[in-house]
């Protein structure tokens, strides 16, 4: 009898030796069939090896290649006990309390198999969408309360309606997969683990606004994701889910991957469109909105990976089902990414409303170093630093905004008490200087000037004056930048200065 063994080929699992584990399993010549999956999102347990048994899938982790002979001898293939045995992954406390809607299949399915995707509930949303009028699809998404998960939190349904209302024969659906924020990896994890959910979401978006062509703008820093997504798109074409007549419906949707080239600013929607058109990724002045004049001047949906990947479940289960997760105006679930100095880093999908403290300590297990967590940064390099006194804030768009923070793409980076906040503030400017597209002055010049001011401040060179200049500079960048890169760089700087003033005291000459 051949036993099925599941080993992730997610980037993080690969970086921890998943391929070497597969090689060791093959070398042992055990009667097994190896299936490569995404990750379950318990990243400290990677490589997590799962074995199919009569009692369900049993997991072991973290497994190294050297552990393989011992595991096989102990009875890995029957799910026998071993020091590395986790048990059923879905019973693990980290996963048991999650509410996985968008990530329901990640870590479970073979990402390149349409058959496996359908066997796990895939394409039910598209089947429903194929029976609906475009306006009804748009209404369902609007009623679900879904807001852009890329960071801007704009209601997805309103954006789609604007595109639907344009009377143009050629429209586009574009997916912004230029996930450049540090501490965020949800897009990558979804694309590597269940790319067909994104493909299905984009196909539904195409049907909703009468767009026949879609592009995924995917980071060049994610080579594994590029390969997985391309394979999934090819499989979807082969199975008749993409192309001239989707499942014989007579409706057309084509989808293609475009590889980005390492510019953070292209995560901003208009610079992404410039880049897709083959130009420098410089921000466009709005209006016109991309929904009216977007890619190649045509009406265009620009949505983040997670927004689009949340659409299939909304179409399948209905707007009310999705909306009933969450709180206030933050409806549905958020894939929260736990990163940086945490013991149990990984992905936690929960309804909005869970507190920062719950995710940091109940899921994250506190700091990896064992030292106290001094601060967290949520929402990427442009997100504010949040002090422990605000850790009881619920994760929802409005509650975080009230403490000066943002949800962003849902990534949280934790720092222990060895962090130097003046250095982090300086880094925010430095990063902005490296990544500025150069089109507007506050961002292009302000970023370099900001780093200088912090140097002068720390050197004790007329600190009061430097502080005043820094405040003025932050204000100019906030008010005067064309996009969020320059406009939000002051958030980490000002929050660091506000909550950790002691780190900004002059240090004399270093």
């Amino acid at each position: 009898m051949v036993t099925r063994v599941y080993v992730p080929k997610d980037s993080t699992a690969l970086s921890l030796g998943a391929d070497e584990v597969v090689a060791a399993l093959r070398k042992a010549k055990a009667p097994i069939e190896i299936i490569r999956t995404g990750t379950r999102g318990m990243l400290w347990l990677e490589p997590l090896v799962e074995v199919e048994t009569s009692a369900g899938r049993i997991a072991y982790g973290p497994v190294s290649a050297d552990d393989v002979p011992g595991l096989l001898a102990a009875g890995l293939l029957t799910g026998a006990s071993h020091a590395l045995r986790i048990g059923k992954p879905e019973d693990h406390p980290y996963l048991k309390t999650q509410q996985r809607l968008t990530f329901a299949r990640v870590g479970i399915v073979d990402p390149s198999s349409v058959e496996d995707y359908i066997a796990h509930g895939g394409y039910r949303g598209l089947e429903r969408a194929l029976t609906m009028a475009p306006a009804d699809i748009v209404k369902t998404v609007a009623d679900s309360g879904l807001r852009g998960r890329g960071g801007a939190a704009f209601p997805t349904g309103i954006k789609w309606k604007t595109v639907l209302d344009q009377n143009e024969p050629q429209k586009y659906v574009t997916c912004n997969a230029d996930e450049g924020d540090s501490g965020t990896f949800a897009d990558r994890m979804l694309i590597e683990g269940d790319p067909l959910t994104l493909v299905e979401g984009m196909t539904i978006a195409g049907l909703a606004v009468n767009a026949t062509m879609g592009y995924v703008y995917l980071r060049v820093e994610y080579p594994e994701a590029i390969d997985t997504l391309r394979a999934a798109i090819a499989a979807a074409y082969k199975a008749g889910y993409l192309g001239a007549s989707i499942k014989g419906s007579g409706k057309c949707f084509d989808l293609s991957v475009r590889v980005a080239a390492g510019a953070y600013v292209c995560g901003e929607e208009t610079s992404m469109l410039e880049s897709l058109e083959g130009r420098r990724g410089e921000v466009r002045v709005r209006p016109p909105l991309p929904a009216i004049k977007g890619l190649f001047g045509k009406p265009t949906i620009v949505n983040n990976v997670i927004s689009l990947a949340s659409v299939p479940v909304i179409l399948e289960r209905g707007a009310d089902f999705y909306k009933n997760f969450g709180v206030g105006r933050s409806m549905g679930t958020l894939p929260i990414q736990l990163a940086g100095n945490l013991k149990q880093g990984g992905l936690v999908e929960r309804a909005f409303g869970v507190t920062l403290r719950e995710v940091l300590y109940d899921y994250g297990g506190g700091s990896a170093s064992g030292r106290p967590i001094r601060t967290i940064q949520m929402g990427g390099p442009l997100g504010a630093y949040i002090p422990p006194s605000d850790f009881d804030t619920p994760i929802d768009y409005e509650a975080l905004a009230a403490v000066g923070a943002l949800v962003g793409h849902g990534g949280i980076v934790a720092f222990d008490d060895t962090v130097d906040m003046a250095k982090m503030a300086r880094y925010a400017f430095e990063f902005c200087a490296v990544e500025s597209c150069g089109k507007c002055t506050p961002c292009r010049i302000g970023s370099t000037r900001g780093a200088n001011l912090i140097d002068n401040l720390l050197a004790g060179n007329k600190p009061a004056e430097q502080r005043a200049l820094l405040e003025g500079l932050c204000d100019t960048m906030l008010q005067g930048s064309l996009c969020g890169l320059g406009g939000m760089t002051p958030f980490p700087v000002q929050s660091a200065m506000k909550h950790f003033p002691e780190d900004f005291a002059p240090r004399g000459r270093h």
Binding site: S11, T12, L14, S15, L16, L43, W44, E46, E179, G180, D181, S182, G183, T184, F185, D187, R188, M189, R219, V220, E221, Y222, R258, V259, A260, A261, G262, A263, Y264, S275, L276, E277, G278, R279, R280, G281, F296, Q337, L338, A339, G340, N341, L342, G345, G346, A368, Q377, P381, G411, V413, A414, F415, D416, V419, M424, Y427, F431, V434, E435, C437
Partner: protein, 160 residues
């Protein structure tokens, strides 16, 4: 390889990229990727040909080529080491790793060791944020890279 032969290789790579992708909508990035994937870099001597075939000005091609961090106009070392500089890796000791790598290789970012063996590059996030510090060596991603592990990885993957 002589200079003449090298030029021929470059020209063939550019021609092949233009033939395959020149008809795509907004093709410039796609073409540049194809050239770099083939040669490892994009020769500046190819700018006039690319511009002419895509009906762009040389300035536009040059502008795109120099805007994006990923594109480069010179060959890299035989081995490429990319170190993540972003916050999540910093929170796990990334800064110490950066300093160690620079000292160990004797070069700064974008530098190549004197023997042409190793190029050091900074990278801002590879989406491997829970298990940092992260580095990529010749395309292979590694987690938990301490100074000691860096030395081991460099030693097992050839000399520098």
């Amino acid at each position: 390889m002589s200079i003449v032969e090298a030029n021929e290789v470059e020209q063939a790579a550019v021609e092949s990229a233009l033939q395959r992708f020149g008809q795509e909508p907004g093709p410039l990035l796609v073409v540049l990727h194809a050239v770099q994937d083939h040669l490892g870099y994009i020769p500046t001597t190819s700018i006039p040909a690319i511009a002419e075939r895509l009906n762009l000005s040389r300035a536009e091609v040059h502008g795109v080529l120099t805007f994006y961090h990923h594109f480069r106009t010179h060959p890299q070392g035989r081995r490429v080491v990319q170190i993540c500089r972003a916050e999540a890796c910093q929170a796990r000791g990334g800064e110490a790793l950066e300093a160690h790598a620079k000292q160990c290789l004797g070069v700064d970012y974008h530098g190549t060791t004197a023997d042409g063996g190793t190029t050091l590059e900074a990278i801002y996030c590879m989406g491997n944020c829970a298990t940092g510090p992260s580095i990529r060596i010749d395309g292979k991603l590694h987690s938990h890279v301490t100074a000691a592990r860096f030395d081991k990885l460099m030693a097992t993957r050839g000399t520098h």
